[in-house]
């Protein structure tokens, strides 16, 4: 969207300075918790517990090593919880990555096909189906989680990668369909119509002509699907046991514990949160669009 209406005005130096001051304060407020998490990751247990909180200290990399390599202390052996964290992080990351990419591949393929059909052929009932698919996303996760939990136990899908992948495919499908349809809707239909007149098969038109034109949209959609799955917690908590647990579940397993080694948690969270945050620089343009299922085009 063209930024036509932004207020461009010559300001006095004082007003200018004031504006920057406000902007810096606002940015600080929103970035600070993330900044604090990243810095805490470089603190030892004692440093993380210090009062007043330390702003200057000698950074340590031990936390980042510890979450992957077991190095048990006496206290950790008694409380038990850190044992789980410190020994298992690579497994949790492996699970998160497998589940994220598996489900995204599925949701993207299934969603793009449906989106293309909805955008180009508009089969009878398109509007109803589109809104129906969207409404599944509005369900509180826990409502679906209860029956799914029992089905998965009965079908042997409980605590398997496949089970979680299928569930996340469902979870992401509305996003994939709505986002991709909004991108298909934007490209002109002329070339496809010409090809159709020439007798090109519909399948060929889809992947040779339409698909290449929405590659950017496809990439943006992938970004949002990644974030959806990467950050999901409740399903992962309910439907997995230790060997299939994802990182959010591992992070949450520290709930309610006293004397948590915050540096260790912060290191785990930092490694987990940073990839998602880096994505924001690539997705900035599509942020609003992604979060409204393609209904709002955004700034």
């Amino acid at each position: 969207m063209a930024t036509t209406s932004r207020i461009v005005r010559r300001r006095s130096p004082v007003k200018r300075a004031l504006l920057y001051l406000v902007v810096v304060i606002v940015c600080l407020i929103f970035v600070f918790p993330i900044f604090w998490m990243v810095t805490t990751a470089f603190k030892t247990r004692a440093q993380a517990f210090s009062w007043p909180p330390l702003f200057v200290w000698e950074p340590t990399l031990r936390n980042f090593i510890d979450i992957f390599i077991k190095r048990q202390t006496e206290i950790e052996a008694i409380t038990g919880w850190e044992l789980e964290l410190a020994t298992g992080a690579e497994i949790f990351f492996y699970n998160s990555i497998i589940v994220t990419f598996g489900s995204i591949a599925l949701a993207l393929i299934i969603g793009t096909l449906a989106a293309y059909s909805f955008s180009r052929y508009r089969p009878t009932g398109t509007d109803t189906l589109m809104f129906f698919i969207l409404s599944t996303r509005m369900l509180p996760a826990i409502v679906v989680a209860i029956p799914i939990y029992f089905f998965y136990k009965a079908l042997g899908l409980y605590s398997t990668h496949i089970g979680l992948i299928l569930l996340y495919t469902m979870f992401n499908l509305p996003f994939a369909v709505w986002m991709m349809k909004s991108f298909f809707d934007e490209i002109p239909k002329d070339i496809e119509q010409a090809a159709m007149v020439d007798g090109t098969t519909p399948i060929k038109i889809f992947y040779k002509i339409a698909l290449p034109q929405v590659l950017v949209g496809l990439a943006a959609t992938v970004g949002f699907l990644i974030i959806n799955v990467w950050n999901e917690f409740l399903f992962a908590l309910l439907l997995t046991e230790r060997s299939v647990r994802t990182v959010p579940v591992a992070i949450a397993s520290t709930r309610g514990e006293v004397g948590i080694n915050w540096g260790l948690i912060a290191a785990l969270e930092t490694l987990y949160v940073l990839p998602a945050i880096i994505l924001i620089f690539l997705l900035q343009k599509y942020l609003l669009r992604g979060m409204t299922f393609g209904t709002v085009r955004g700034v």
Partner: protein
């Protein structure tokens, strides 16, 4: 005349999507609806006993459940109102032209991508009464050492939600502001309209649909909030921050009163459907 297979092609394309929705949404939901009329505890096992509407009657007659809905409503109203006010202010701030504007917007929107469970756990450290940075800053400013998650639990939860979701509100309103036609603003300047009139006559009509959409989106999501509160307070102290989603989780997966959990899930579902319908109507109006 398209061949038979060409006519069926669009249908083939949507079959996988419909299959996923059927097996992973509709089928489980129907099953859960059925179970909501039974008394069934998965831990005790045994055959489910048909009890008709007893689960629903007990839940809707329970003072505890009503209190949970009130708590949820308090949380939703407080969080969404705060996000709305701050989002508006931020949108006007970032609507100005200045160097580094893009970067500033990117920085402010970062919390949107943080896993809510990670944010919840980490805010516990930030709020900690004996060494948290938040406690320290408040102490440095006022000399009072607060215990946020104990004495001001609801505020703690609302602030966390506002930190994460104010940027979302801001993006919507900013998109609205950017779409206000420049010539209208200019004629408002020429007519020497007051700031308030300019807002009322020129700006508000353009941004209104987006503002409504943002409010509904946030209301629905806030209503479903689970991860952050679960991590930060677990609904406590007592039941001060126990949202309905947490109650649902407890009944279903702590006490394993499955039939009752399904019934509560459907009560929640009906409320969400009402909110969703409102949203879909708005969304249609915005896209048209």
């Amino acid at each position: 005349m398209p061949s038979r297979s060409e006519k069926l092609f669009p249908i083939f394309l949507i079959i996988p999507a419909l299959a996923v929705v059927f097996f992973l949404v509709i089928f489980p939901l129907v099953w859960a609806l059925g179970l909501s009329f039974y008394k069934y505890n998965v831990l005790r096992g045994g055959e489910p006993i048909f009890v008709g509407l007893a689960n629903y009657i007990r839940l809707l007659g329970s003072e505890f459940i009503w209190e949970r809905f009130v708590t949820t409503a308090e949380f939703v109203v407080a969080a969404v109102a705060l996000e709305f006010i701050l989002g508006f202010a931020l949108a006007f701030l970032f609507h100005q032209e200045f160097t580094g504007r893009r970067l500033a917007i990117t920085l402010v929107t970062m919390p949107l991508l943080v896993a809510p469970i990670a944010a919840g756990i980490f805010f516990k450290y930030i709020y900690d009464a004996t060494f948290g940075i938040f406690t320290y800053l408040i102490w440095a400013l006022t000399g009072v050492q607060v215990n946020m998650t104990k004495d001001y639990a609801m505020l703690a939860v609302v602030l966390l939600d506002a930190w994460q979701w104010t940027p979302f509100m801001m993006l919507f309103i900013l998109a609205g502001l950017e779409a206000v036609p420049k010539h209208l603003l200019e004629s408002a300047e020429i007519d020497r309209l007051s700031w308030f009139d300019k807002f009322r006559v020129v700006i508000w009509p353009t941004i209104r649909p987006l503002v409504m959409l943002a409010l509904l989106f946030r209301t629905m999501d806030a209503f479903r909030t689970f991860d952050t509160v679960f991590a930060l307070t677990e609904g406590g102290p007592g039941t001060q921050t126990e949202l309905i989603s947490i109650t649902l989780y407890r009944i279903a997966f702590k006490y394993f009163r499955t039939g009752e959990a399904c019934a509560l899930a459907f009560i929640v579902l009906v409320i969400v459907i009402l909110l969703t319908n409102l949203y879909l109507r708005m969304a249609r109006r915005v896209t048209e």
